[in-house]
Amino acid sequence: MKFEIQLEGANGKTTRVVELERDGGAYRVLLDGQRVDADVVEITANTISVLLNGQAFEVHVTPTLDGRLKLQTGPHEFTADVVDPRAWAGRKHGALEAEGRQQVMAPMPGKLIRVLVKAGDAVEAGQGLAVIEAMKMQNEIRSPKRGKVERVLMKEGQNVSAGEILAWVE
């Protein structure tokens, strides 16, 4: 299988093409078209051990809400977008965020204890839109941009799950 990996780390962004071919119980690995000496083993569901020319790396993978992957190895962290290039033609990010219209998502599950705006209100970037209580802390959800609140989709007192859309700001 062939994957395009858009990798973002502390030192910027790169794009790598990784090809994995099954070889018995193991994998043959091509990196950017070049065969590399890599011994790859899945230790547990989200932990992968990579021996690359004998250099040992253990990589821990956690998927994020927006369908990307958080990768951690030792003190280093990366975010990856994984695309299968066979079907790739410029993946459109945030397909719903057309023309500067922004959705405001609940970043975590919790209880919506306060809604601070209503449809039609003018808001500044960073202005509080709602307050979610989770794990005993009250967290203010802020507007991603300056604009107008187009719709508020949730009511006070409602439970929300992570990724649920709270409001639209345009």
Binding site: F3, L7, A38, A45, L65, K70, Q138
Partner: protein
């Protein structure tokens, strides 16, 4: 000694207490809310009983339900842990009425010292220095505002019943006052069921140093030395260590004497902590008394060699403090980090969910007190504390090296944790020199991240290969953890969405 102890708590502290009981041969009774059936403390207890809905008010904060379990199970003592009802005098009262021993201070001592205002009044009477401010709850916000203006900003509003940074707001100027008052009062109401707030002058750049005291029921009160807890995020302790790098033997004696004086005057019994702020000239000011076992008690245990929970149990059983602990001096150095289910890349928002995989550090000088395991779903209803990672060594340097090593070994996937925050702090020159204060971390976090230390060649390649392998395994199995971990399967919506995005291509 007791036969059976009810542990009126959850999470890592319930497990910690349970372990002490087991070592002493005492039976343990756990309690759990609807969402905690699979929690570690329930798995490890000798007996466990349900006490109601997920909301704390209907379970862990219900004295009636706890008393009912204690009666049914035949418990002769109760340990409250920290948080929840640990500092609510109604709990020791209810215990006394039913002939159950409360492992903690008597209700009267809690009232005399536990609330911030009462503690302050007692400190003034016993000539322990205090920070200027009101010593009583203020009802009228305009009155408080006038006082703040006359005292001069910055000031801080604190919940009377507060703790752990909840119901607390710093007010930098008059314009911020109204919003801060509203937030502090409402947060206090939600967290403690008591919206009362008081006002204090806000000291610039103080350190937070606290003294662990122990008192038996026979009049002996001792200090077990200090803990430095200056690394805080939004008034919540993040790293604690013992001994404090700035406390000299002379200052340790003075602060210890003050704490002991206060505890004695308040009729205190059992474990307690007297918190102080220390300024640049090493003057100390009384802050508050925590009338309970502290989250950070393990660092004191590591440098004194004592088991504080066992000591609490022995004192509650009427035993005397056995020797002259006035002479105790810390040996070596210990440091604790609090690992939370929080996303450091997303403004530290809580990150509850299922722990898909987990690897715990071990080895020399490492201790892990925790209430989680692989496969456990961290509920959204409670405190985000997952684990306390404690390291100790001969020196502060060795302790920090061990902690860094252990943090690199410690991995949790499925949820986000604040482990990267500790990697950053433990590399900061200010922290290594211990030039820190209670606002130090908040100030650090608004600065841009320093450039990452250069990764070994191949790190990026390995990450890319791992991402590809993960993707191929998860596409194949069509099941993986989603980001919230709430469900085993990737949601059908998300999968369809991704498929749709791929299908749009030639």
């Amino acid at each position: 000694m007791f036969k059976k102890i009810l542990i009126a708590n959850r999470g890592e502290i319930a497990v910690r207490i349970l372990r002490a009981c087991r070592e002493l041969g005492i039976h343990t009774v756990g309690v759990f809310s609807e969402v905690d059936r699979s929690a570690l403390h329930v798995r490890l207890a000798d007996e466990a009983y349900p006490i109601g809905a997920a909301a704390s008010r209907e379970s862990y904060l219900s004295i009636d339900k706890l008393m009912d379990v204690a009666r049914r199970a035949g418990c002769d003592a109760l340990h409250p842990g920290y948080g929840f009802l640990a500092e609510n005098p109604a709990l020791p009262r209810a215990c006394v009425e039913r002939g159950i021993t409360f492992i903690g201070p008597p209700a009267e001592a809690m009232e005399a010292m536990g609330s911030k205002t009462a503690g302050k009044q007692l400190a003034r009477r016993t000539e322990v220095p205090t920070v200027p401010g009101t010593s009583e709850a203020m009802e009228n916000p305009e009155e408080v505002r006038a006082l703040a203006q006359s005292m001069g900003y910055p000031v801080i509003l604190k919940a009377i019943a507060g703790g752990g940074g909840k119901g607390m707001r710093v007010v930098a100027n008059d314009a911020e006052f109204t919003a801060a008052w509203r937030d502090a009062a409402s947060e206090a109401m939600n967290a403690f069921g008591d919206s009362r707030v008081f006002l204090e002058k806000y000291l610039i750049r103080p350190r937070h140093v606290e003294i662990q005291v122990f008192a038996d029921a026979h009049g002996r009160v001792v200090s077990l030395g200090e803990r430095e807890c200056s690394v805080q995020r939004r008034h919540q302790k993040v790293i604690e260590e013992a001994p404090s790098p700035v406390v000299t033997p002379d200052l340790r004696r003075k602060m210890g004497d003050a704490a002991v004086r206060l505890a004695r005057a308040g009729g205190y019994v059992n474990a307690g902590t007297v918190e102080f702020l220390v300024d640049a000239e090493l003057n100390f000011y009384f802050l508050e008394v925590n009338a309970r076992l502290q989250v950070e008690h393990p660092v004191t245990e590591q440098v004194t060699g004592l088991d504080l929970v066992k000591l609490q149990i022995a004192i509650a059983a009427g035993h005397r403090l056995p020797f002259a602990w006035e002479t105790i001096t810390p040996r070596g150095h210990a440091m604790e980090v609090r690992l939370y289910a929080e996303d450091p890349d997303n403004n530290f928002f809580p990150s509850p969910g299922k722990i898909v995989s987990r690897h715990a550090p071990t080895g020399p000088g490492i201790r892990l007190d925790e209430g989680v395991y692989e496969g456990y779903t961290v509920p959204m209803e409670y405190d985000p504390l997952l684990s306390k990672l404690i390291a100790w060594g001969n020196s502060r340097e060795e302790t920090i090296a061990r902690l860094r090593r252990a943090l690199d070994e410690y991995t949790i996937t499925g949820i986000r944790t604040n482990v990267s925050l500790f990697r950053r702090i433990l590399g900061e020159p200010d922290f290594l020199r211990s030039e820190i204060h209670t606002k130090w971390l908040d100030e650090l976090l608004v600065k841009p991240q320093p450039p990452a230390t250069a990764a070994r060649p191949g790190t990026e390649d390995a990450a890319a290969i791992a991402a590809a392998l993960w993707q191929s395994s998860n596409a194949r199995a069509s099941a993986g953890a989603n980001a919230t971990g709430a469900k085993e399967e990737i949601s059908e919506w998300k999968r369809q969405g991704r498929r749709g995005q791929l299908d749009r291509n030639p």
